[in-house]
């Protein structure tokens, strides 16, 4: 059963079309991730769902009721952003107990609920702390606790962990997943980071330049994106097959756009499909990301699975013609 449904959401600022025909729905306990580059309308969409921005057209339905014209405070939809937005003149406990439904509880009930939710977000004993004395991660958890206490019908998260370092971000992702599983709360999560989308999502919606490109489960999107834009968003090399000089054509229609994952390309001098030239590289720790230029000027990335030795890297960089192949091309 769909809890939140978006139909034909459109928004533009003057000539700038920010969102174009966005349609999707969210079920209870589901995490929908909106994935796409920065500045492509994802945050505007969350702002529209929260009621902070008015769409030009389209409908939003929550629990079968039209909420498109409902005021922000009546929607029962809570938005968390990259900033924790804690009230500096209140303690952690007062921040958590800030929502109107908490005010209707007796003091003992309220304290009990605050303590229990602080325990859930691993902040037991932080009740009397001033929010400004907390780390960024702790502030985000207080903000999450406050949102959960308000018992929203839908939780919107706009890159809430973007400012946290890698390990803490992973911890927060696990915590969010657990909280969603326990509460069956539907979540719409905005990110531009592929790993975050893949690890959190039940479904990933790719949004680029205001257009919804796909609505797929993570594994499906990662392996078989439904269009070149989605493919590019999830890390595929997207190249035009027409102008390429093929030595050995893959078993697909090369007279169109074709996609290949960087990790699925191997350097093969014996039976190459295309000839390329290495024009740059990045050391990633577990391997290298090579930037190759094809005969017609198009470029593609290659991830080397294991670390190249310095000698091998020098050879790759100095060789004018590198043969590459892949057994996993996608055709559009």
């Amino acid at each position: 059963m769909n809890l939140l449904t978006l139909n034909g959401i459109q928004k533009s600022y003057g000539q700038n079309n920010v969102l174009n025909e966005i349609n999707f729905s969210v079920e209870p306990g589901q995490i929908i991730v909106l994935l796409g580059p920065s500045g492509t309308g994802k945050s505007t969409l969350l702002s529209i769902i929260a009621g902070l921005t008015k769409p030009d057209s389209g409908q939003i339905e929550l629990d079968g009721i039209q909420i498109s014209n409902l005021a922000v405070h009546k929607r029962q939809i809570t938005l968390l952003t990259q900033k924790a937005n804690l009230f500096p003149f209140m303690s952690v406990a007062d921040n958590v107990a800030f929502s109107p439904n908490m005010k209707s509880l007796s003091k003992s009930e309220r304290d009990k609920k605050v303590n229990s939710i602080l325990e859930e977000v691993s902040l037991s004993g932080y009740n009397n702390r001033n929010p400004e004395t907390l780390s960024g991660g702790e502030q985000q958890r207080v903000s999450l606790a406050r949102a959960l206490c308000s018992e929203p019908k839908v939780l919107l998260l706009d890159e809430p962990f973007a400012s946290l370092d890698h390990n803490i971000r992973i911890e927060h992702q696990k915590l969010l997943k657990k909280l969603v599983q326990d509460s069956a709360l539907p979540v719409i999560f905005v990110t531009h980071q592929l790993d975050e989308a893949m690890s959190l999502a039940d479904k990933v919606i790719v949004i680029d330049e205001g257009t919804q490109w796909s609505n797929q489960i993570p594994q499906e999107l990662y392996d078989k994106p439904s269009n070149p834009t989605s493919a590019k968003t999830v890390g595929f090399n997207v190249i035009d097959g027409v102008g390429l000089k093929w030595l050995n054509k893959p078993n697909i229609d090369t007279n169109n756009l074709i996609c290949v994952r960087p990790e699925n390309i191997v350097m093969d001098e014996k039976d190459p499909q295309i000839i390329a030239k290495c024009i740059g590289y990045l050391f990633l720790g577990s391997g290298y990301k090579l930037n190759l230029e094809l005969s017609d000027g198009q470029t593609l990335d290659v991830l080397t699975g294991s670390q190249l030795s310095e000698l091998e890297l020098e050879r790759v960089m100095s060789t004018k013609e590198i043969g590459i192949r892949s057994d996993f091309w996608l055709n559009f």
């Binding site: 922000v72 405070h73 009230f87 800030f98 929502s99 109107p100 439904n101 308000s150």
Partner: protein
Amino acid sequence: MFKVDIKTVPNLLAKISLFATICVFIVQSISKRWFWPQLWPNNFEFEETLSNFGDAIPLLWTTFIVAALVSLIGIILSAPLAWLIYNIGQKYRIVLILLVLFPALIPPVVSGVGYSIWFIKIDFDGNIAAVVAAHLLISLPYMLGIALSILFRQDRELFEASAGLGWSGDQIFFRIALPLMRAGLYLAAFVGFTISWGQYLLTVLVGNGQVVTLPMVVVSLATSADQTRFAALVLITMLVPALVTVLYHKVLNKTGEYEFANT
């Protein structure tokens, strides 16, 4: 060797001149006949000084009541007005700001005469309420300006987050905006008090001689022969804003909101 930092010289000179002026007024307030070019008074008269201070108490009370009311009503009006302007659409916001700030842009004599004529027409002159209203009209732009400046320094997301948690606009004003504006409202109250305290012309015009405040008497005595009384009243006139300044800084220190005052 004694070194003077050139940057501290203006500050030092200001302090010396203020201190010297106060000293001259103190000596003058207890002197009997201190005329130019005498460097020091021939006689001192404490009884008259005490009597002068005693006579000033009703004036002090009237001036204080007017200034305190202006300060209080000013913050009661400027806080919600600032919230309204903060939340209103961009084009209406500018119109509203200009409308409220307008009295501060008009020369005091012009506005004073204007208010006086207006108040006479509606039969609302010659009483404390009229003086408070007139003082309020010229203090409010400054008080509102301060309230607005602190409100616009706040992150709008804080208010949006409150709305998302289920609070309506007026509830957000009382629960979030007011506490966040607190330091600014202290400053606005302080500014409103000092503007009203120093008013002379406006009080004369609107008070119609029925409401007499300290600055009115001080100005009238400035050119009189009774310089002892003049000095005593000047000291009292200076003393109250000085005490309010100390109180303002104490309150800010206590609430830990000194940062705003420094900015």
